[in-house]
Symmetry: C2
Subunit: 341 residues, 2 copies
DNA sequence: TCTAGCACTCCCCTAGCACGAGTGCTAAAT
DNA sequence: ATTTAGCACTCGTGCTAGGGGAGTGCTAGA
C-alpha cells in the first residue's frame, strides 16, 4: 500500500522521533546516509504522508510527528523486534521460580516487567467465578475460637478466626464440617453460597449451639473470594514520572485514577484475552481519552492452552517498541510455562 | 521568649502563608484589622524575626516565608486546634467497624486518613518478632496435597498447600502435627524456627515418609511471617501530585522511592513509638533531605496501654495543621479503641 | 516608640527583534 | 517524469530592554 521510499522515510522518521522525542524535519532526514535524497524530495513525501494521516505538524515550522495512525502503521508493518538473549530469558525465569501461590506469582511477574521496561505494568488476574470449592474445615484453636478454612484452587485458601459466644465440642464442629463438605463440595462459589443460605433457611442446621456465626463466616469468606480483590493489578506506577509526556501532574493523576477505576482497561484486556498473541493499543485505541499519548501492550498468559488472564505494560506511545514488545512477550511466555506446574 | 506583638504578627503571617502559599509582606499584614500597626513597624518586627531564624526572604522584595524553625514555633506554641465534630467521629468509627484482621484494619485506617487529609498516609504495622506460635496444623486435601496452617496472634494465620512426592497417611500427619505443637507451642517465631531446625538435625523426625517438605514449608511460613511484609504501609501517594510543592516529578519520585526504602522514616516512627501522643516532624527534622519541605505527623496507636505501632500522614510543610493534626489524633484514637476487642 | 517617607532592589511581564528551523511552491535540471 | 535548488514565508525560541509592582531598609520627625 505504501511505496518503498515512503516506508523507508517513515521508518527513519519514527526511529529519530522515538529516540529524541523532537519533531523531525526534512533536513534532518535528508542528511541520513540511508536516505540520500534532497530535503525538497523528502518534504514532498512528508507532505503526502501527512495528507494520508500518518504524520502531523505541531506547527508550521516544526517538522513532523507520527499520529496514532502512524504508530499503528509502524507497529503493524515496519517494526522488527530484537529477540531477547537466552541469558536474559534464563535470568527472568529464575527470578520467577519462587514458590508462590498463583496471585503472588502474577504480581511478581508484573513487578519484574515494570522494572524491565521502565513503565507501568498491569496484570489481569484469572477470574475466580468459575473456581470450585474444594474443602471446608474448622480448626479448633480453643473451645471458643475456631479457624474457618476454605480451600479453593491450587494454591488458593481463605481463612478467618471466629470467636464464638459459647463453647463448642469438637465432634459438633466435625459434624458441621462434614455436612458442609457433603453439600457444597465441587460447587462453584456462587452455587455454594446459594446452597448455604438455603440450608440455613430450611433449618437443617438449627441446633442448640452457635452454628450461625460459623456459617456467616463461611459465607463471608466465599464472598470475599468472589469479590474482594482487584482483578487488575498495577505495578511500577511511579516509573511514569520519568517521562515528560506525563510532566503535567494533573494528567498523571487522571491516569492513576483511571488505573484504580479499571474501567476501560478491563475491556481492552478482555479483547486481548479473546485473541491469542500480543496486542498493541495505541493512543485513542485505548478507548479513554486519559490514555491519549499512551500505548498499551498486552499478552495473554495460559496454562496448557487454557487462557487464564492477560499481562501488559502501559507507557508513552513514544516508547521503544523494538525492545518492549519482546519483553512483554517473553514474560508472558515464561509465566505461562511456570504456571503449568 | 517572644513578645506578644511578635507572636501575634508571626501567627498572622503563618495564617496568610498557609492559606495562600505566597510570601507575606509587611503591607498585607499591616492592613489586617487585628494588626493595626503601620507597615513600617511590621517591617521592623519581621526583620527581627528573620534575624532570629523564624522567617526567610526568598529575595529582596518578596515578603517573608516561615523557616523550618518558624514552623516549629508555630506548631509548638501558637497553634490552636479545631476539635473534629462528634458526627465526624461517629462516621469515622463506623467506617472502620468492619470485620477485618489487624493488618487489614490498619491499612483501612491508613486509606481513610489519606482520603481525609488529602495527603499521603503511613502506618507502621506492629512488629511480629514477639508474636507467639499458637498452633500448627496439617489439613489433608488428598493423599498428596497437604495444607499447612500456622496460627499466630489474634487474627493472624499463614498457610500454604504442599504437594508431596509420595502419599502420606492421616495418622502420620497427625503425629507430626502433635509433635510440632508439643515442641513449638507458645514459642516466639525465632525460637520456633531454631527448635525446628535442631529437631531436624537430631533426626528426631527421620521416618520413612516425606516429612521434609512439610517441615520446610512450616519453616518457610515462619520466616515469611517474620520478614515478608512491609512494616511501613503507605496509602494515598497520588494525593501528593496535587501540591505544587511536588510539581517537580523528579523530587516526587525521590520521595516515593524513599517511601519504599523506608529508611529514615522508620527511625522517626520509632521515636514516635517511644513517646506517647502526637508528634510533628518538620522539614529537616525528617532526617532525610528528600523530605525537605515536607512535614510528618505521627501518633502511636495502642491496645490497652500497650503501644503497638504508629500511624501518620506526610505532606507539604505548608499544610493545614489546624485541621490535619486533630484528624490524625482522632484516627489514632479510634483505631486504638477498635483494636481493643 | 512608632510612623511616614524615600531610595533602592529585585521579580515579572511585555514588546521587540534577530535567528534558526522548517515549510510549500515553483522553476530549472536531470 | 523525477528530482533538486531556490525563495518567500511562518512560527517558535532566545535574548534584551524597559516599565510596573511589591517589598525592603533606613532615616528623620512626631
Amino acid at each position: 500500500m505504501l511505496n518503498d521510499r515512503y516506508q523507508m522515510l517513515f521508518k527513519n522518521l519514527m526511529g529519530l522521533y522515538l529516540s529524541d522525542g523532537k519533531p523531525v524535519g526534512s533536513n534532518t532526514l535528508s542528511k541520513l546516509p540511508e536516505v540520500a535524497l534532497s530535503s525538497a524530495t523528502v518534504r514532498n513525501v512528508l507532505a503526502d504522508l501527512e495528507k494520508m494521516g500518518f504524520l502531523h505538524s505541531p506547527h508550521t515550522s516544526a517538522g513532523r510527528v507520527p499520529t496514532d495512525k502512524g504508530y499503528r502503521l509502524f507497529v503493524d508493518t515496519l517494526l522488527t523486534y530484537q529477540e531477547p538473549s537466552k541469558v536474559h530469558e534464563q535470568d527472568l525465569r529464575q527470578r520467577l521460580s519462587v514458590d508462590l501461590n498463583q496471585d503472588r506469582l502474577l504480581q511478581e511477574a508484573s513487578k519484574l516487567l515494570s522494572g524491565l521496561t521502565g513503565m507501568a505494568s498491569l496484570v489481569m488476574l484469572p477470574p475466580k467465578t468459575q473456581e470450585k470449592l474444594q474443602q471446608v474445615d474448622f480448626l479448633m484453636l480453643s473451645a471458643r475460637r475456631i479457624l474457618v478454612v476454605l480451600v479453593f484452587g491450587d494454591q488458593d485458601v481463605q481463612n478467618r478466626i471466629v470467636e464464638l459466644d459459647r463453647e463448642i465440642q469438637s465432634d459438633q464442629l466435625q459434624k458441621l464440617a462434614n455436612f458442609l463438605n457433603q453439600q457444597c463440595l465441587g460447587l462453584s462459589l456462587v452455587q455454594a453460597r446459594e446452597k448455604l443460605s438455603s440450608a440455613v433457611e430450611q433449618n437443617q442446621l438449627q441446633g442448640d449451639f452457635p452454628y450461625s456465626s460459623l456459617l456467616k463466616s463461611t459465607d463471608d469468606l466465599l464472598s470475599r473470594q468472589l469479590s474482594d480483590r482487584q482483578s487488575l493489578v498495577v505495578s511500577g506506577k511511579t516509573n511514569l514520572l520519568d517521562y515528560q509526556e506525563f510532566a503535567d501532574s494533573q494528567k498523571l493523576k487522571r491516569i492513576y485514577h483511571a488505573f484504580n477505576q479499571q474501567q476501560g482497561l478491563l475491556e481492552l484486556f478482555d479483547k486481548s484475552l479473546q485473541a491469542p498473541g500480543l496486542k498493541v493499543f495505541i493512543g485513542s485505541e485505548c478507548g479513554n481519552e486519559v490514555y491519549q499519548g499512551c500505548s498499551l501492550i498486552t499478552r495473554p498468559y495460559a496454562v496448557e492452552d487454557e487462557v487464564l488472564g492477560v499481562l501488559g505494560v502501559i507507557g508513552p506511545s513514544r516508547m521503544n517498541y523494538q525492545k518492549v514488545v519482546p519483553q512483554v512477550d517473553l514474560t508472558g511466555k515464561i509465566l505461562s510455562s511456570l504456571l503449568k506446574k
